[in-house]
Symmetry: C2
Subunit: 196 residues, 2 copies
Amino acid sequence: MAKRSDALELAILGVLSKTPQHGYELRKRLISVLGLFSTISYGALYPTLKSLVERGLLVEQDEVGTGKYPKRARITYALTESGLAHFNALVADSGPGAWDDDTFAVRMSLFGQTEVSTRIHILLGRRSRVEERLANLQTNLAKGRERLDSYTLELQQHGLDALEREVRWLNELISREQSQSAADGGNSAISQVNNK
Amino acid sequence: MAKRSDALELAILGVLSKTPQHGYELRKRLISVLGLFSTISYGALYPTLKSLVERGLLVEQDEVGTGKYPKRARITYALTESGLAHFNALVADSGPGAWDDDTFAVRMSLFGQTEVSTRIHILLGRRSRVEERLANLQTNLAKGRERLDSYTLELQQHGLDALEREVRWLNELISREQSQSAADGGNSAISQVNNK
DNA sequence: GTTAGCATGTAAGGAGTTACATGATTTT
DNA sequence: AAAATCATGTAACTCCTTACATGCTAAC
């Protein structure tokens, strides 16, 4: 479902679930947290916020005279209960495109607000996505090995190396999470451990 | 200039400059050459081809009874002279977005059809783009080191490593090209050494 | 004869960018 | 008082994806 690209919505909900904020600030936070989303234009941000408000996931709080700056026209956005519920659902659930680069990055950057099992689920999902691409690349590299010129080969080899590194990285993260989950005794309802 | 995302047009012109082909085949070739462009839908491909024909860069040749399959409805596309000129201009010239991941990959995969000086130019341009992103990431990692949770940190560190590897890779490619260009006798008008 | 793959296209609609429009506040 | 930056928004336009529509050919 979710119309507006998912990754952006998710990131917004994630950031706001920690600290309510207004659009301008929010954008900066998003950019600094995700060096990936290099740009998030206001033309994308404000309409998305609006849509989230319309769907009852956020509330606007017109900020009047907070502290030193009276009458500022800023609007602070905060999650509603259903917004929080939606956020939890989105983080855990895997719609199509949940394992894409951007979406994965957003989800991982929100790990501090999720349970161990969710984290493992996301990491495993990402790993199989990466492995899938790896397999594709290897296949068509094997098929066309002689027909591709050296530059294309070099390029594909570099891509392949990057994917292999990512798999190794994910494996490490996964086993770290798994041992944590074991140490936990498995009774974790919401064991928000270690969010620092 | 150039409307349709550049990368796609460039890739099409590049493939067709080697071998005229019809759309269906072309798409497969594009996908196999670039494991990056995971998907190229017909909804993007055919309109682009049409637009290229309208601009006089390609010609359609209705293939009638070539060989064993008579009356096939396929349309072979081939570059015109101005298409070739446009291709050469596009490969060498650097519009905005010329150093993006996709566009760079396309350009590099077409290195076999370019001169040494062009190749070096492209590699240098890409390198400075990557270095720029690296600097950004490092800056805001330094700024927020304590405020980011361990997962976000891990994620950004991984991104950073990937960028560093790419720079090293590019450096190697660059020096390879440069020594080739030197062996060339240095008579190449544009010897662009070392613009860093 | 029916499934699978070849082959070309179009229409609707989504997602986001760019450029514009406006005004307050802080710094120089 | 000018310039920078905070702050919010909209409208037009671009590009692409999805789903549909069509028909031929090859293989089983």
